[in-house]
Amino acid sequence: MLGNRIGVISCSGEECLGGTISRLAVRKMMEELKPGMVSTLCLPLFIAGDGGEREFAEKYPTIAVDGCSKCCAKRAIEKYSSAVAGSIDVAEIIGEAKALEKPLSTRYITDLHMEYVNQTAAKTCEIFDEILAKQ
């Protein structure tokens, strides 16, 4: 999935709702909003450093989509590659308390959760389009 020239890394955190939202927002970008235009990078593989992900993020603009204010994805990109081209903190979109609610299986996703996903994906797309316009 490294053929396109704008990368997106989701934290996909397992401890809170924000992680589920970040993951689904990036999947929505891949499948619906920017099909064929997004290179998704696995955060654990990125940090392990053996899949070409770090080199990708050094060369090409990469957006971090984090589920909470720990911003693990953003910090990882900055530590191992270079400055992020943009970052999203789901907690800033849906509120810190909501983002830190219990993790959620996709079986229990409601319309309200999907609205959070849509908002997060839309914000990420705004950054994506700004980057694309500069290229």
Binding site: C11, E15, R27, P44, A48, C72, A76, S105, T106
Partner: protein, 133 residues
Amino acid sequence: MSKIKIVPCSGIGKVFGLLARESVLMVTEEKCPDECETLCLAHVVTGDDEVVGKINGENCITMDGCAKYCAKKSVEETGGIVVKSHKVPDYIKAHRGEEHGTGTYLTDDGWKYAEELAEIMVEDIKEIKAGVN
């Protein structure tokens, strides 16, 4: 005694990452919430003091989606004791020909497979508890 930590890879590109994630959530949220808990792999890999404190020297189970074993390696590097390590494709043989979904959603067969993976981890928890007590 502290809870057993169960960490999936949650890889985003393929269905195996979602199977790992959903099977672990079944165990930590529904099947054995009093015996185990999950940790954010994204946080684990940052090596923050906070997460190292939670995992260092603790019994852990990992569920990886591919042979890169990101969850297992990251937990070990952070000081966790990986008592049981699994990889989603290890149990696929009995499910050949089934469609399990994508990185976004699971099909009915995908959910059945996730349930099977969850039960494997439930047995792990029983074994670990029996060994410790």
